[in-house]
């Protein structure tokens, strides 16, 4: 997922030209969608009418099993973030604090980071089975790289004065990590977590679409298999909203720090 930066522009007034243009664009897209749906130009149901999608969305949100599947996916992503994030943090701190280690190993992380992680899925199935374990593993390897690289970069950006102060107080390694390193590299770590979360969501959900009988990815591929297009649109809409919302929330955490700074 792309690093998009934070957009801190103040909210536009209700009838400002920007707001009006946004409303016009949304209205135009909806009208075009409805016209295409009614025209029959595309295969029936490929572009269902908005009312049908709205109904599917409402049904989805009132469906109890949907929340169970959402819980499964959220749990897998949470565990993946915990394992991959912590491992990435430790590796990042090690690489960032030692020049030799950084020069020896960081290139491997840098070039392995952007490789398509889904290709490891057959291996993860072999190692962790077809259940949630392999999905957690996919999320873990996906989020490890951005967190590790961000933590390493953040570690190098720490003001050396802070490190000298810690050492002059004879702080132990644990105290250095918890009192100096982590607070000083909060922003890069949050940035890494934000990127890591995005790719962990993708890794986990893609794995669920490939081989699973639970989770949101399974629901999406199940909707495709049964050609239930309104439900698929509803699932994608909710998923996109959730992903963008969580991403913005983590970004906002970094934003608050930036303002205080």
């Amino acid at each position: 997922m792309a690093e998009t930066g934070r957009l801190t522009a103040p909210a536009a007034p209700l009838f400002a030209p920007v707001t009006l243009l946004r409303a016009a664009i949304i209205a135009a897209v909806l009208v075009i969608w409805e016209l295409v749906a009614a025209s029959g130009l595309l295969f029936r149901d490929v572009v269902p009418s908005l009312s049908v999608i709205g109904r599917a969305l409402a049904e989805l949100l009132m469906d109890k099993t949907y929340y169970w599947h959402l819980g499964v996916t959220a749990g897998e992503i949470g565990i993946a973030m915990l394992i991959g994030g912590l491992a990435g943090l430790v590796v990042g701190i090690l690489l960032g604090s030692n020049k030799l280690l950084s020069r020896a190993y960081e290139a491997y992380l840098y070039y392995l980071g952007p490789t398509p992680k889904i290709i490891f899925f057959p291996v993860m199935i072999m190692w962790f089975g077809v259940g949630p374990g392999s999905k957690v593993a996919m999320g873990t390897i996906s989020c490890f790289f951005p967190v590790a690289l961000s933590a390493a970069a953040g570690m190098r950006q720490i003001n050396p004065v802070l490190i000298r102060v810690g050492k002059s107080f004879r702080a132990s390694t644990w105290q250095m990590v918890t009192k100096i390193y982590l607070p000083a590299m909060r922003l890069p770590i949050l940035n890494g977590v934000r990127l890591g979360l995005g790719v962990a969501i993708i890794g986990t959900l893609l794995a669920e679409t490939k081989l699973s009988n639970r989770g949101i990815g399974f629901l999406i591929i199940n909707a495709y298999s049964t050609f239930n297009m309104p439900r698929m649109y509803a699932l994608l809409i909710v998923l996109f909203m959730l992903s963008i919302g969580v991403n913005a929330l983590v970004g906002r955490l970094g934003g608050v720090d930036a303002v205080k700074k």
């Binding site: 243009l21 020896a104 398509p116 889904i118 495709y224």
Partner: protein, 254 residues
């Protein structure tokens, strides 16, 4: 040997040495029966499978299929992505209205739309190309805007003093000045596109290198699967390395 070369050699040797040690350790553990060889094949078996996979599975053809898909996605990204970026830069109101949407789209897991694209485009190369294109689009648009907006005022003033038309100003001042940043966007876009292309090939079992991994895994050809994964990693790393070098060459000051 100079001190600088020696300085570079030690980390390189340490990195490579660790990799070799890890491979040897895996070989020993599997041979000793401490790791199940039906789950993790021996590195020597994987190395032996390389030749078989390359010759029997027609890797050159599959590589070309994936490269063709990536090329089409890149062309679409250059045409549409840079085009939209230029449009948004030129029409400020439109940019103010939609830039946050593009940024939000960049953080959305667009690859999960692949079942939708399967319905629209069928199980074909078109689906794979479009998935690659959609994944890379936000990065190209945002970086194009950033590049054009970052053009130094003095360059624009020089152009205006020569009474250049708006079109001339764009092609002779704005575009060349924004080129390095636009290339950064294209590089990011190509990386996202390649990740999605190989990923979707794997998921829908169609196309080039991604499909090969899926095929071999379904045949339970473990050494072959591992060899194919290593091959894809190798191709990805070479691709990222080359584009990284190209980017550094374009932005020597960065």
């Amino acid at each position: 040997m100079t001190a600088r070369a020696q300085n570079n050699l030690v980390p390189f040797a340490l990195g490579l040495g660790t990799l070799i040690c890890a491979v040897l350790l895996a070989e020993i553990l599997i041979r000793a029966g401490l790791v199940n060889r039906f789950i993790v094949p021996m590195p020597s078996q994987i190395a032996g499978a390389f030749h078989r996979v390359i010759t029997e599975e027609d890797i050159p053809h599959r590589f070309l299929v994936t490269a063709r898909e990536a090329l089409w996605a890149t062309l679409l990204l250059a045409l549409v992505g840079i085009g939209i970026g230029v449009l948004l830069y030129r029409v400020k109101l439109l940019r103010d209205a939609t830039e946050t949407w593009v940024a939000a789209f960049a953080s959305a897991p667009t690859v999960l739309m692949y079942p939708l694209f399967l319905v629209i485009f069928g199980r074909s190369e078109k689906t794979i190309i479009m998935m690659g294109f959609v994944a890379g689009l936000p990065a190209v648009i945002l970086k194009t805007i950033e590049g054009l907006a970052g053009t130094r005022k003095v360059l624009v003033n020089v152009g205006r003093s020569f009474k250049l038309t708006e079109v001339q100003l764009f092609w002779k001042i704005y575009f060349p000045a924004a080129m390095p940043t636009i290339f950064v966007g294209m590089r990011l876009g190509m990386i996202f596109a390649l990740i999605n292309i190989v990923g979707v090939e794997f998921l829908i079992n169609f196309g080039g290198l991604g499909q090969l991994i899926n095929d071999l895994a379904e045949r339970y050809d473990l050494p072959g699967t591992y060899a194919a994964i290593c091959f894809v990693i190798l191709v990805s790393v070479i691709f990222f390395f080359l584009t990284d070098r190209l980017e550094k060459w374009l932005r020597p000051a960065a």
